[in-house]
């Protein structure tokens, strides 16, 4: 299920809720998103993200040396972020 909290239009307020930049309405993080869903720039949507199947964490290869990373990290300001989900 695509959820509000992982949408590019989601403006976080706290751990449970935020608002939608387009509708201006409050939304729940885990609530089902509408048809306008665009994947937000989180690490799991980056081409440098490596899914490590044995762990809940992943790896980032964006800065040369591979380092662990967590999939839901907000990465809009990461200079190496390259979206691979909304192409």
């Amino acid at each position: 299920m695509l959820i509000h909290g992982l949408c590019d239009n989601y403006i976080p307020v706290d751990a449970a809720k935020g608002s939608c930049a387009i509708s201006g309405q409050p939304v729940v993080f885990d609530g089902e998103s509408c048809g306008n869903f665009i994947a937000a720039p989180h690490c799991l949507n980056c081409k440098h993200f490596l899914d490590v199947k044995t762990s809940e964490l992943g790896e980032c290869s964006g800065f040369g040396k591979v380092a662990w990373v967590y999939p839901t990290m907000r990465a809009r300001n990461c200079e190496k972020y390259v979206n691979c989900k909304n192409i």
Binding site: D14, V69, Y70, T72, R76
Partner: protein
């Protein structure tokens, strides 16, 4: 005056927001730090900070005029495992299991009780320390980060070296018994100080970076007569430049986000593009307008708070700092007072959103979740004239129209302030918001001259004083700010953090140890070596109390010095350092004593009044009247005078306590006489003499100890919320107080219900000693609103205040509230989300303070008439 529509919306959002912890900052900080294990420590830390600032999310919320926040969340904060990782590693398994449980849960719309406190996990949100919510899917990363810092955090490293202090085991027992509330070196190593905004305001970041580059080149390779830290200047300038570049990038990220949102929201694009332009300007250049300056000082503040775990970083006298911009914008017609008020209201909401993530005992037990961002108004100019101005009046007005907990306000009361200004402040108090507090400006100056004279404090410089944190008198200085060709003298902080050192010794608990020969019943530990004195007379009792106290301070000073020394070597402030004089001038950070004033470490105490009342009861009942033996009294206290414990009774004040079902009444008489013994706060010579003796000893005793900077410590006498936590672990006391109940708040507030002779008698007792010997004293009064109603009531309030301060009182603050309202709020918190009360040096939302403190505020003596 009514709150603006914009600020009302933003404040409403605050009321519906949960405290939220996130991980972007610690992730990027840790990743970069680990990459640079070859680097000079200060440069390594600077690179880590730059990386974190450059990468953290930059949320802009709808309707904001002022933007920026610690994290992506409205009320966000984050852990700093490089300071202390033990809490998380110790609970790693528990956290991970809870994350699994949360995954299985489905109802994600149940929010925790207690305002924004996430007291329980729900849905996919995990409660951390009963306060912060964190997304369950981020918990594995939290555990990974904490494990990454294990054995090398300031706490872990400090502990390793602390153990070399011969009395270390004694220290552990002192902490375990809660005679001392907490270590400061890895919990809140900075704060309780006044920030300084001058350099970014005057020069802007491009010029500051250029200055750092020039200075680095000029000092490279030269010790210039200082063989110990002379060479360190190069690394500090390099580090400062790196951090400033990170801060610039952070601002520019906000600008980019504003432009992105402008593209999505055509109806808001005008405001968003204006925000973008402001951010692009202040990322490089000094501000030119009031709005730019306010935006800049807010972000400077947030950056300092993100650099280290800090509570009580006070903006200081910002009405005077920002006055140049206010004056020139007003005269040129660039801004109206209505627009200034709207901006100041937005500022209040933004400051209220600040949360501090520190260890659980500190945030809940000491701070009550407050962050103590104190704005001072009034005081004197450098040349000794009243410093009040029109902008300060608007700051007070905004405190009334936009009632929020932050920033709290303090009037630096001086006889030179105008009557109109003081009456406006009194009107604000009457609204029931708990601010402004009133501080005696001359006492504050006297304290600074005494404590910082050897570091060069002059009378003119002492006039720049402001309050750090809730009530910590802090050394400041003057700078000449030039705006569009006109010069202004503005104040700002110039000293290291205060309330670092020995954090809150529970005086009644020390007396309990004296009476029990060093043994703590609660932890079943011999905390201190048995004194084996018979305590045959009062003077032996008093001397043993002093001896035990000094023994406690001695070991805590040594161990805390080690913690702070590790902090300054591993985790030194770079951004905060460059803000304060004279770091940029001399090329040294805080750890190398780059600040102008470094004698800021202190000994904090709690429960003074209960101790004095207890000493009075012992003196009278045991030693003079010989009504009871010490043994009899000790037994009665151990049995809690026949009452249930406060925990069992469910109430933490003396109200509504219940006797045990099996109790046969044998301690009734002794309890009656303990309560009847002389009590502080009634202009009673018997207790006032004991109080004077205590203060003379305490203030002098503190000076016998040295901080890691080889400067003398001093007395700090405030309670914050420790009177709740430390009262909970203290047995019944000889003054009749029952086990587990709170102590009296503040330092010269009467114990609830014992001040029977009226407010002036209390003030007479409170001023029986020379208050500028201490960094502060704290008097809290609860007035019924009808006692000061109307215009005549406002004048009456000012007259009481003036009378106290003229007698030499350091500080007084008021709760103007009906106790019935508080009882109703306790019964129905959901109907009182906006209710604020003054606790001890700070105003907090009723629903976010703990039950013991709520009970204590309810129980305080309510003055119906003054």
């Amino acid at each position: 005056m009514k709150i603006s529509v914009r600020a009302a919306k933003l404040r409403e959002q605050y009321f519906n927001t949960l405290s939220t912890a996130s991980l972007e900052f610690p992730y990027w900080y840790s990743r970069k730090y680990d990459e640079l294990n070859y680097e000079i420590p200060v440069v390594r830390r600077a690179e880590a900070l730059k990386c974190a600032f450059s990468n953290i999310p930059t949320t802009i919320w709808p309707d904001e005029l002022l933007i920026g926040s610690k994290t992506a969340d409205y009320r966000g904060s984050f852990p700093m495992p490089w300071l202390s990782a033990g809490y998380f590693t110790a609970r790693a398994k528990e956290f991970l299991q809870a994350a699994d449980l949360a995954e299985a849960a489905s109802d994600c719309e149940q929010f925790g009780a207690g305002g924004g406190n996430v007291t329980q996990s729900f849905g996919k949100v995990l409660s951390i320390a009963g306060k912060f919510g964190m997304r369950a899917e981020n918990i594995p990363a939290l555990v990974k980060l904490a494990e990454n810092w294990e054995n090398r955090s300031v706490e872990d490293l400090g502990r390793r070296y602390e153990k070399i202090v011969p009395e270390y085991q004694e220290k552990e027992r002192i902490m375990e018994s809660l005679i001392c509330m907490f270590d400061s070196g890895y919990t809140l190593p900075q704060g309780r100080e006044v920030i300084n905004y001058f350099y970014p305001l005057q020069y802007g970041y491009d010029d500051l970076i250029e200055h750092c580059e020039d200075m680095a080149a000029s000092v490279a390779g030269s010790a210039d007569g200082d063989g110990i830290v002379g060479m360190d200047r190069l690394y500090f300038y390099i580090a400062a430049k790196i951090v400033l570049q990170g801060i610039q990038q952070w601002y520019l990220n906000y600008a980019r986000e504003a432009r992105r949102l402008a593209g999505k929201l055509p109806s808001k694009s005008g405001e968003l593009l204006e925000i973008a332009a402001i951010m692009e300007h202040i990322a490089h250049k000094p501000p030119e307008t009031f709005r730019q300056a306010l935006q800049l000082i807010y972000l400077v503040h947030i950056a300092a708070l993100n650099e280290d775990a800090i509570s009580g970083l006070s903006p200081g006298r910002i009405g005077q700092v920002l006055y140049p911009y206010f004056e020139q914008d007003s005269l040129s017609g660039r801004i109206t007072e209505t627009q200034v008020i709207e901006l100041l209201e937005c500022y209040r909401v933004k400051m209220t959103c600040i949360d501090c993530f520190a260890s659980t005992g500190v945030v809940g037990g000491v701070l009550s979740g407050n962050t103590f961002n104190n704005v001072c108004v009034g005081g004197l100019t450098k040349d000794g004239q009243s410093a009040e101005n029109r902008l300060e009046e608007l700051i007070i007005e905004t405190g009334m129209s936009c009632q929020t907990t932050q920033p709290t306000l303090t009037v630096l009361y001086d006889e030179k302030l105008s009557e109109g200004f003081l009456l406006k402040a009194a009107e604000c108090v009457k609204t029931g918001v708990g601010y402004p507090a009133w501080v005696n400006n001359r006492n504050a100056m006297d304290f600074l001259l005494k404590q910082y004279g050897t570091e060069g404090m002059t009378l003119e410089e002492a006039r720049s004083v402001a309050i750090g944190g809730c009530l910590e008198t802090s050394p400041c200085c003057w700078h000449m700010l030039n705006l569009h060709g006109k010069n202004y003298t503005i104040p700002g902080g110039a000293g290291q953090p205060t309330s670092v050192g020995v954090h809150f010794i529970a005086n009644p608990k020390v007396l309990e140890l004296v009476l029990n020969n060093g043994y703590d019943e609660r932890t079943a530990r011999q905390v201190l070596q048995p004194h084996n004195h018979e305590l045959a007379d009062y003077s032996e009792l008093w001397q043993t109390f002093c001896d035990y106290y000094e023994q406690i301070v001695d070991v805590l000073v040594k161990t805390n010095n080690i913690q702070h020394d590790i902090w300054r070597k591993q985790n030194m402030a770079v951004y905060s350092s460059l803000l304060k004089p004279d770091c940029l001038e001399i090329g040294q950070h805080i750890g190398n004593m780059g600040y102008r004033y470094n004698a800021t470490y202190n000994v904090e105490s709690c429960g003074q009044v209960n101790t004095i009342n207890s000493l009075a009861a012992l003196k009278k009942l045991v030693y003079e009247d010989k009504k009871y033996t010490l043994l009899e009294l000790r037994e009665a206290m151990k049995e809690n005078f026949g009452y249930m414990t406060a925990q069992a009774a469910g109430n933490f004040s003396m109200l509504m306590q219940k006797k045990r079902a099996d109790y046969d009444g044998r301690y009734d008489e002794i309890h009656f006489n303990c309560k009847k013994a002389p009590k502080f706060g009634n202009a009673n010579q018997y207790t006032d003499e004991l109080f004077l003796q205590y203060e003379q000893w305490f203030c002098e005793m503190c000076r016998n100890y040295q901080s890691l900077y080889a400067e003398p410590l001093y007395a700090c006498q405030i309670s914050v919320s420790t009177h709740g936590a430390q009262g909970m672990v203290t047995q019944a006391t000889p003054d009749g107080r029952l086990s587990g109940t709170t102590f009296a708040d503040g330092s010269v507030s009467a114990y609830p219900g014992t001040d029977t002779e009226g407010v002036y008698a209390l003030m007479t007792s409170a001023t029986c000693w020379d208050q500028p010997q201490s960094q502060n004293s704290q008097l809290n009064l609860k007035l019924h609103p009808t006692a000061i109603s109307g215009r005549a009531g406002t004048k009456k309030l000012l007259e009481i205040t003036r009378a106290y301060l003229r007698k030499g009182g350091f500080h007084v603050q008021y709760n103007v509230v009906d106790s019935k309202t508080l009882l109703a709020a306790q019964a129905h918190p959901e109907e009182h989300r906006e209710l604020m009360v003054r606790v001890a040096g700070f105003t907090q939302y009723w629903v976010e303070i703990s039950k013991p403190i709520q009970d204590e505020v309810i129980a305080r003596t309510q003055y119906e008439k003054v």
